[in-house]
Symmetry: C2
Subunit: 446 residues, 2 copies
């Protein structure tokens, strides 16, 4: 026993602990100690009770597990939740989302939208999110203020938007932001070239060079629909994934988001290069984009993480729903109910996400020495009883409202379902003001 | 103005009302009055305020809508929630579910399991459920005691189970139960021949004759998997749906549950006969059964309702999740994001369910004269803001925990999220006892 185990800032006694690593394990009658923002002990309760803790939290009926890692989203777009639904992808973008963004997106929009997203994410168990949106500096500052861990992917386009003029401008601003946050314990800043159809080959090559030089992650929308792949193949005689590979952009630092169009050769290429896939099942279904072949990817050894995408195409940021949908969709697609078992879905939402973001040494599982990013889930309600297997309940029966507590780097961000750092009433007033402004000024087609 | 509109037992002032009929309508600043268990007025708030009501409930931030109608389930199986997951259908049934049922199902199991199911259903907005399980008399009595509306489908098999000896015995007991409840305001009792592979042709013919004579509904599991259909076709040279048609079992009184295997001719036959389809998307996905062609059915004019199936194969009884999954799955399957819009999914969960159960004159929409089966959903939280379109939020952003109030036949069954007729602590103790008994005695294969 080390000194660390004899003192602790906080000692938590739940009913059970799901550490995620080792895979599929549930520890009954165990406790966890936090010190200086990290997990300092994970022990059977009788041994843990010997620890001299500054604070003790008893959580009968609860499971304790790592917080979720939402690997793809556009947080500020929560202000456009439900603004336009039931539209095919291109009309949805061209007639609704892009005009609304053009008219309204500014620093205030990103600040308020990000806070709204974080409120929802924390209440449903997410402790780390990845973001790709305009004004990534505002998103980074907002997340830092609210104590939320995040990967900021600064967006890169060939063309001007509210945040930049051209690819060089985006990259310059993005790298400055990366520099600002290089010592941040909560924030990483990485490259976010939007997609192969919005960033030309020479700009993607620049990203490849710079990202390799800086050993920095890259997140990109890729193969979201068959149409995207067919158009690229017709125009360039090369599929987007192959082009990225030729440019040196597929590596263990690459996060490929969506990937609904996958040939066997694509899966082999992803496995060979160590690139990660971020699966967004609810968004892919809602926009009728297609199905990512998750079970085949996992079989091939590709790391598959989960993302909600934005609340404008989901319409929630709830990783419980995403885990459940990922598991159900994989079973349906493969015709095999044993595919993507509960433990696999939970791993996708936690440790696989940490691997995708290059954070697996810090988060994604409950192990001594890792950052104390963890959530408590109350399994005592009628929705989650009886309790034969906590993993089944977490993946197939929880809806997010059972999350009672959350800590990020040891700091409490949710206590007894109350957000510690967000004033919901004040936030609601600002969100309502945005709603009225957007409704009043938009010339909406219906 | 009638006298009914001048007095009322209860007057409710929400932010908006979603009556479901007319389709897609949202009434802002309207109120609803209840009298003698029925909806007596639905008016703009200023007019409603003239009503002399015994009680007034203010629900700022809430939408009021008809309670959901869960058209297929096995309520007592909630006691087997999460008992076995991630198994293919036949091993799941043969190695886990059937042995557990054989060892444990009795009247007490059905009483406690049904109460657990009703607790979950009421908390997530369901006001009517259909049930097919052993000891349907116990389920009927439990639902009646708890003030829950239900359709009891008494099960019919060729073989003996805990509740009966053979088809004649099931039918005799079932018709006695139907007689017991013939004057019940909350309960209907109908025929539940389990499936074409568990009830032979001559027994199905008996059901057809008796159901026609009594003008009674019939619910049957049908075309749940391709395998089921192929086996029947190989054995009898006839698909199950065609056999049911030949026996006179397809009519507007017939509820066909699952129907994942559908040819164009099947859809035409369902449309021509007026038979209903009960779609259980989450169960079909989780057991890898297949996808029901919902958008084609709706186009052809077939009435499609929704069911959760049991918590052993879902693993929840939450109709919000079922609506969302139905909408997303239909978009994915059709490759068209505009298919099964929010209003359509909500109709499936309400008025279409009422039509399927033959209750559309009583429930399924908020119309004057109908039974007061309605729920209040709090849309003021960060998960459901901003609020451009209440229908989008209800279908795509709610998870069930936003349901604050529920009335069935005008009686409050949920108030400020508290169940009025169920003691959750006492229920939890009984559920826990079942869990231990089932765990202790089962010789489980893993």
């Amino acid at each position: 026993m080390t000194l660390q185990q004899k003192k602790a800032d906080l000692l938590i006694h739940p009913d059970c602990i799901v550490p995620v690593l080792p895979h599929g394990v549930v520890l009954q009658n165990h406790s966890i100690a936090l010190s200086e923002g990290c997990i300092s002990a994970l022990l059977p309760r009788p041994e843990a009770e010997a620890i001299n803790a500054h604070e003790i939290v008893e959580l009968p009926g609860h499971a304790l597990l790592p917080g979720f890692i939402n690997c793809h989203g556009h947080a500020a777009m929560s202000l456009l939740r439900g603004y336009a639904d039931d539209q095919p992808l291109m009309p949805w973008l061209e007639q609704y989302i892009w005009p609304a963004e053009q008219a309204h997106v500014n620093e205030g929009f990103v600040e308020d939208g990000t806070e709204l997203a974080i409120a929802e994410m924390v209440r449903s168990g997410t402790t780390t999110f990845s973001d790709m949106y305009f004004f990534p500096d505002v998103c980074a500052a907002t997340a830092q203020k609210l104590g939320m861990r995040c990967q900021i992917t600064f967006p890169i386009f060939d063309f001007a938007t509210a945040w930049g003029l051209d690819a060089d401008d985006y990259i310059r601003k993005g790298l400055a932001l990366r520099d600002d946050f290089k010592h941040s314990p909560l924030t990483t800043v990485v490259f976010g070239p939007h997609a192969p159809y919005t960033v030309c080959e020479s700009n993607l090559a620049k990203v490849a060079t710079l990202a390799a030089e800086l050993d920095a992650p890259v997140q990109i929308h890729l193969h979201e629909t068959v149409t995207e792949v067919l158009q690229a193949a017709a125009q360039y005689e090369e599929r987007p994934l192959d082009m990225l590979h030729r440019l040196g952009l597929l590596s263990p630092r690459t996060q490929c988001v969506h990937m609904t169009d996958l040939r066997d050769e694509d899966i082999a290429l992803l496995a060979a290069t160590g690139a990660h896939v971020v699966h967004c099942p609810q968004s892919n279904m809602k926009l009728a984009s297609g199905i990512c072949r998750v079970s085949n990817l996992l079989e091939a050894g590709v790391n598959v993480a989960l993302g909600t995408d934005s609340a404008a195409s989901n319409n929630d940021l709830n990783m419980f729903g995403e885990m459940q949908t990922a598991a159900l969709l994989a079973k349906l697609q493969s015709g095999d109910a044993s595919v993507l078992a509960a433990a696999d879905a939970l791993a996708m939402a936690t440790i696989n996400g940490a691997k995708a973001l290059g954070l697996e040494d810090r988060v994604g599982s409950l192990e001594v020495g890792k950052q104390a990013d963890l959530i408590a889930v109350d399994l005592s309600g009628p929705e989650t009883q009886p309790l034969y297997h906590p993993l089944s309940q977490l993946v197939y029966a929880c809806n997010g409202s059972q999350v009672t507590h959350s800590w990020i780097g040891g700091e409490p961000v949710l206590e007894r379902r109350q957000l510690t750092r967000i004033n919901l009433e004040a936030l609601a007033r600002r969100v309502s003001a945005w709603q009225h402004q957007i409704n009043d000024t938009a010339s909406r087609p219906k």
